[in-house]
Amino acid sequence: MVRPCSMFFGVHMLRFLLGILLSFVLIIVQPAGVFAQSTDRSATGGAQTLEDIMARQQKIVIDDSFRRDVTGNTEGAAITDQLGTLGGASDPDLWRALRYGSANVTVSTGGEAAKSVIQSGGMWWLEFRRDVLAPFGSYLLLGTILLLVLFYLIRGKIRIDGEKTGETILRFNTIERMGHWILGISFILLGVTGLISLLGRMWIIPWLGKDAFATLALASKWIHNNVSFAFILGLIMIVVVWAKDNIPNRADLQWIAQGGGIFKKGVHPPAKRFNAGQKVIFWSVVLFGSAISVTGVSLLFPHSIPLFESLFQMLNATGLPQIVGYGEISTVLSPQEDMQFAQLWHAVLAFFLMAIVIAHIYIGSVGMEGAFAAVGSGEVEKQWAREHHSLWVESIEEKQPNEDETAEAK
């Protein structure tokens, strides 16, 4: 039975995580709000001025209706019914119509996506991916590794403080460990191949050359596309077997107040089957992993599963972007723009999840004595379990005599 305090903490944690997710969305979306700009364009005959160009270079969103709407006037053309001219639309008019998606384009195949002959939003995506995502994502991962190395040098390996009993206790059964490793191995493969796809042009081509990188990139693409389904399976498995034990409870507050006991020797705050730190990792994996999976599937089937137009409409309806002063998010997206948002969202969350998982791998391997056995053999040293999951051990030991009594009674 879920206790009221567990539900209270659960709701607050959920709201906290949703807040983080929303802030990520707002980081990568462009506002639809247009900065007020009154420009006299009489000198250019209504065409853009130097001021317009400068504003665009400064990334200021300007009211571009003076260009967007000037796509020719067939009614005003001198000849419209004969000779087959373009009527009142000049070549610049036609190119403007193509750029702003208002040209009457007919395609034999490919649907709406094929009708986008010019897609200006691609430049913004390309620049964000190259100038923000790749460098800051790299800093995040390298910074996480550096912090863990420093932590190891200062704190050292967290040892089992008490005397080892020589007895073991079953922590995770075969199905649980299977789910953990399907998820873990597939995530490492997806992380490495994702990094090759994003950073290879910058880091690997200068080192290996274009030919070798082409082979590597092709293999990475195959692995990334196909291993993703195993990741989704692993994600479903861990939710099924572990979600109930990861509902926050009162003991988590004590665990957090004592820093999980990881900063000081001999400090062991009580914890049930999972402590607060493990719960943060679990729910991060579930929420981030789900969002990464959904956007990944959307990218696997181009233009078939658009996500962001409806997501932005929902966000605008909540009023949250407006409250934080961001204005309404543009909900008019070309099919390509939807995929660009999917790619950025996919990669931004993947970077955060990689940083979290690196910390998880550290504490589960070199960082803590006895921790790996939980997902290795499944059996952990009883003293380790007492120090890190005392409430869980107590609940197991409480059940044990009852089972013995039942056996004796039989």
């Binding site: 384009v105 395609v107 195949t109 094929a114 191995i185 195959w222």
Partner: protein
Amino acid sequence: MKVIASAAVLIAVISVVASFSLGKIGKSSAEEYASPSVRLD
């Protein structure tokens, strides 16, 4: 360690099956996109 090896084998099997399935979808998609024409009216 058997569990880790089993998980790795399962991932490989799922990936190969996914590759064939996606390949079929990709093939029909490629046929759909073959020889497109674009007309501006």
